[in-house]
Structure formats: C-alpha cells, structure tokens
Amino acid sequence: MHTARLHKWLISGPPLAYLLIFFAIPTLIMVVASFRDPGPYGGLAPLFTGEPGAAGVALTTDNYARFFTSFVYTGLFAKSLLYALITTAGCLLTAYPLALLIARSPKSQRDLLVLLVILPFWSNFLIRVYAWVIILGPQSVFVGAFNWAIGLAGLEPVRLLYTPAAVVIGLVYVHLPFMVLPLYANLEKHDPALLDAAQDLGAGAWQRFWRVTFPLSLPGVYAGAALVFIPAFGIFAIPDILGGTSGAMIGTVIKQQFLDSRDWPFGSVLSMVLTVVAVALAAVAAWFARRSRL
C-alpha cells in the first residue's frame, strides 16, 4: 500500500508541479496584479510598502473602478461581445449545411469529409488570417470584382481590409471547424426513421427540418456556439491583423496595455473581466446544453 502511494506521487507529481508553477501561480499573480498600482515606469509598483503605520501591502480596487466607470472599455467589451455573437451566427449558418451533408453521406465517406473540415484548421493560425489580408486587400482582384458588382447597383466602392467586417470574416473562417464538429456529432446520431415518419404525416422538407432536425440538433448548436463564441470573444491576433483601428477588440487592448502602454494592473483587470465573462458564458452554454437534452 505504501509503495502504491509512492507510485502515485512519483507519476502524478512532476506534471502537477509543472502546471502549478507555470500555470496556477502565474494566474494567481495576474489576479493579484489587477489589485496593484502601476509602477512609475510601467510594470507594477512594489507590493510591500515600507511606510511606517501603513498596512504594509499596497492593494487597490482603483483599476476595477477605472474599468467600470469608463465607457471606452465597457464599450469595447460590448463591441467584442457583438463581434463574437455575429461570428457565432455566421459560423452556424456556414457550418449547418456542411454538418448536415456529412451526417447524411454514406458512412464510408464521413470520416474523409470530417477530415477535410479539420485539415485547414491544422495549418498555421497566422497563415489562415494572413490569407484574408490578400483576399480583402486593396490590390485584390476579389475586392475589385466585389466593388464592380456593387457599382452596378449604384453603390460607392468600399474598403474591406482593416474594417470590422474583415475581423468578422476572419473570425468565422478560423472558428468554423469548432461549429461543424459538434453539429456533425449530433446530427449523425439522428434516427432517419423520424424524418420518414414526419414525411408520412405530410410534413414538407422545410417543416421536417424546422420541426424535427433542428430542434433535435440544439445540443450540438449550443456546444458549437460555446466553442466558437468563447475563443472569438478573447481573440487578439485577428483584430490586430485584419481590424486596423476601427476593428479593435478586447484582446487587442489587453496586448496594448501589457506591451505598449505597459499598464500591467489595468491589463490584468481587462484579462480578469475577460476570464470571468468567458467562464460565465461557458457555464451558461453547459446549462443550455444540459437542459435541451432533457
């Protein structure tokens, strides 16, 4: 028995220690940093003050007060939420036909079709974003064709790169597989007999979809929505590369706080709020998914 305990510690100990040091402790440092004063030259002010009679530990809620009283930053959160929401809707619309087609393909082809959805996802993230710099760029033949087309409708040519629209397109592109996979996993399990029954009872194709397939797929929709929404909300590289100044999101500003203006306590506050919102959203999604399964 004694050696069994020893084995357990020998095997689980090293990874546990590593993750405590390089994940748990840094996270706690960030939590504490969000309650500290910024240093005079960036970074952090000393945590322990030498002033006689003072409490000895300099902690403040000023950073949080600054966040919640500033329309700039709360507005930025609202904007990021909105972008993430549009992205989720865009992913759902694009992913549903794909997932449905894969689920209704012959069994032998399904694995290949799923693999084809995942494959681009394994190529470098930056490359997938960069591709849209080419496609949406000012010299792009695609933008040229697009502007020619809307010109026929009497509209002024538009710029696409470095706009919120470019950010949302990039977000949808990068997160699409996260929506396809849970949707497919759900749709694949549907009993085709249900659709036959609905047809026998006189339901048209559209009715069969909206009253049988779609309600049954809701757990997959919620799971996919959570997998898209949460990372899209906190993303930094996509608005940074495709967004320009008008397309900034919360992740872009966290980066600015840490690397450009070097206000680490405030950057930590933004990160904390981002974490809390992300965890809360994950909990809501889990709750919805469980409820819809009952």
Binding site: L19, W122, N124, A131, I135, I241, L259
Partner: protein, 256 residues
Amino acid sequence: MKRSAWLAAAAVAGYVFLYAPLAIVVAYSFNDSTMNAQWVGFTLDWYRKLFRNQDMLVAARNSLVIGLTASAVATALGTMAGYAMYRWRLRLLPLLVLAPIAIPEILMGVSLLLFFVMINLTLGMLSITLAHVAFCIGFVAIVVRARLAGLDESLVEAARDLGATPWQAFRLVTLPLIMPGVVAGALMAFTLSIDDFVITFFTAGPDSRTLPLAIYTMVKITVTPEVNAVSTLLMLLTLVLILVASRLSPGAMRGR
C-alpha cells in the same frame, strides 16, 4: 431531391470557403510579381529569397529548437499526467491539465509574462520553451489518456502474475501498447509549439524570434510574397506531421 441538391451546393460552398484562402496563398507563392494581385507568371524566386533571408532562417531554427525541446518535455510530463488520470481518481491534476486548453490563450500569455518578469527570468528561448511545455502537456495527456482507455488491463495483470515489478510491467507491457498514443501526442505537441503565436508573442524577448513571430512582423509591416512561400512550406510540414500522426494513432487527431 431538390432539397438535397441545395444542401450539397451549400456544403460545397462551405468547403470552397475553407480551402480557397489557403490555395490562394500557395498560388501567389509562385507568382512572379511583388504584388498579391494579378497572375504574372510562374517563379521560384520567392523561395530562393526566403532561403537567403537570414532573419527567417534564424527564426526557423529557433522554432525548431523550441519545438523539439518543448515537445520532448511535454510528452514526458503529459504521458505521466495521462497515465495518472487513467490510473487514479485525482481532482487537482485533471483541472490543471484541462484549464490551459479551455481558457483564452491570451490570458496564459500575459500571466506568464507577469510571472517571468517577477522571477527575473530574461525573456527568450527558455521562457518560450517553458510556456510551450505548459500548454502542450494537456494535449499529450488527453491523447495518452484516450489510448489507455482502450488498453486491455488483463495484460498488465498477467505480467504482474508472472513476477514483473510494477515498473517492469509498465515499461515492457503498458508503454509499448500506448506508444502510438505517445508518439501522436508528441507530434501534436511539436505542431502546436511550431504554430503557436499568441503565447510566444508575450513570452519572447527581442533576440528570440520564432517563425510565427517573423511571419507576424512581415504581415504587419511589409507584405511580400515571401510570406506566401514560408506559409506554403509550413503548411506542407504540418500536413506531413498530420499524416504521420494519423497513421500512428487513428482517431487521435479528432477535435484538435
């Protein structure tokens, strides 16, 4: 019938949406023009230029060194974590293994930046490697754990009955059986490390540029078709790694 044709068309459009951007990057890497616009003619100049670009070569070497080191350490620790999670009912370890995968990447980047500065570790190759190990452990652990779930426990018991010590039973029976999972996990860790941008961005110093950081600078400052060439090569590398990994452990590459 009409509906299924409509569905197929929408799904084909979905696949085009997924692949066209990557195809465009590959195509322009062979275009004989400094602009990513009109097709002028076929050239390999951008690849030649790339192989003479000293910054890029240094960045590629850094990425390789970090990727090999980080994936080796993460594979060892991740295999231990995966085995521990399979063998015993643990509370803290599964949480610490899964949390880095679940939270937004940027949080891990900034908290590690704070941590490294606090312990006075100069940002560079070491800090990047330590950070990469931290986020790779979880992925290795999940793959190894999944492989262990399919293990026939009676084989280990038989070895023990025949007088093997627990260590011998692990090394001679369990480890060879889960080896495909371990190798797949290692390849996954290597791919994730080579590809990582966000966490590297926050934990890198001025003299430790990796390939994604070099690409980022090129994309942000000067977009030349060299980016297309390096992107194409990276895609090719990833594709080869996936093919090897999926040969070794079918099903392990699902989901991520």
